[in-house]
């Protein structure tokens, strides 16, 4: 019996291993989709004002919001996408209309918009970004600066086609 391929003990151990693998989510179906879409962040849409105008610069500038926009699945860069940006800065609160502006991505799917320095508000120095143009699923981001002294903040979108 000691040589048997399947003893009672090994059967129990193997069954337990299979159950544990399944329960822990280690078995994932193979995905052909590739790059996963960026989910909206908690609080990302707070103080959003839909339809912020496309501007060369928000207010007096001095701080750069940068990022990329790509398509879910193949990760192709998406040019000409409108990204809306707002934050609590040295020139106004988040809810103030003049704290809001939008920009378009370039041919490489990159965007950068100059704006006033972001200052800590509600406990964290953070910015808000939105993709809300209808062609892809809407995404709201709320990146936090690693230091309030930073002069730039980046946020990256991977959009899911509708």
């Amino acid at each position: 019996m000691a040589d048997a391929l399947l003893s009672r003990r090994s059967l129990i151990t193997q069954a337990a291993a299979v159950v544990a693998t399944g329960a822990s989510g280690l078995l994932l179906p193979a995905r052909a989709s590739g790059l996963a879409p960026t989910p909206s962040m908690r609080g990302g849409s707070n103080n959003y004002r839909p339809g912020a105008p496309i501007v060369n610069q928000i207010g007096g500038g001095g701080f750069w919001m940068t990022g990329t926009v790509r398509r879910a699945g193949d990760g192709a860069p998406l040019p000409g996408q409108r990204i809306q940006i707002w934050a609590h800065t040295t020139e106004g609160h988040e809810r103030d209309p003049h704290s809001h502006g939008a920009t378009l991505t370039d041919a490489k799917g990159e965007f950068r918009l100059e704006m006033p320095q972001i200052v800590p508000a509600f406990g964290q120095p953070h910015g808000h970004l939105a993709y809300d143009s209808g062609e892809f699923e809407t995404v709201f981001l709320r990146p936090v600066m690693s230091s309030a002294d930073d002069l730039t903040l980046a946020a990256h979108f991977v959009l899911q086609p509708l």
Partner: protein
């Protein structure tokens, strides 16, 4: 001497916060909300000192009266704090109250707020509740400890309202005062007095 140190411990964090460069870029109502929070934290230092009757020159009765007044002031400070933040950014406060905020410190603050309300309610209702005194005291102190720990974590995780050194010092003093008062009163001993 204790009074001088206590005044310094309460005044210095407020003065340091008043020198914050961020104030220039905040509306008055937002500044008011922030300072109501700092004053609330100062009251959290006074409360255990009054409950433990550590302050010289105050009789047990007047200690208790001041503990009650400071407790009510704390409730007012919390209401101004939350109300001012609500006016400044309603969605952020709604998220916090619903425990779905992006910022982890919001949950600590909201838990501290509700347990402060409950502790104050126990204080106001003490005569009517007809609880045995030591049982009442353990309940009130338990809720107060949740308020204190919640508020300290809340404050330590926040960036931009208080100056870091004075904030840390005030929080450590609040925790020390609370621990010493708990030990002095032995609140966990709920047996009837022999």
């Amino acid at each position: 001497m204790i009074w001088v140190l206590l005044s310094a411990a309460l005044a210095i964090p407020i003065i340091a916060a008043a020198y914050s460069p961020y104030l220039a870029w905040r509306d008055p109502i937002y500044i008011l909300a922030g300072f109501a929070g700092i004053i609330g934290m100062c009251l959290l230092l006074l409360q255990p000192l009054l409950a433990g009757r550590w302050l010289p020159g105050l009789s047990p009765v007047s200690s208790r009266h001041w503990h009650r007044r400071c407790g009510l002031a704390l409730i007012v400070a919390i209401l101004i704090h939350v109300g001012g933040l609500w006016i400044t950014s309603p969605p952020d406060v709604v998220d916090a109250l619903l425990f779905v905020s992006a910022t982890p410190f919001s949950n600590w603050g909201v838990i501290a707020m509700w347990s402060a309300f409950a502790a104050a309610l126990l204080g106001v209702m003490r005569q009517r509740l007809n609880l045995r005194f030591r049982l009442w005291r353990l309940s009130h102190t338990g809720l107060a400890m949740v308020t204190i720990i919640g508020s300290v974590v809340h404050a330590m995780l926040i960036e931009g309202t208080m100056e870091t050194m004075t904030k840390t010092t005030l929080c450590v003093l609040v925790l020390l005062a609370s621990a010493r008062t708990l030990a002095k009163l032995k609140v966990w001993d709920i047996r009837r007095r022999a």
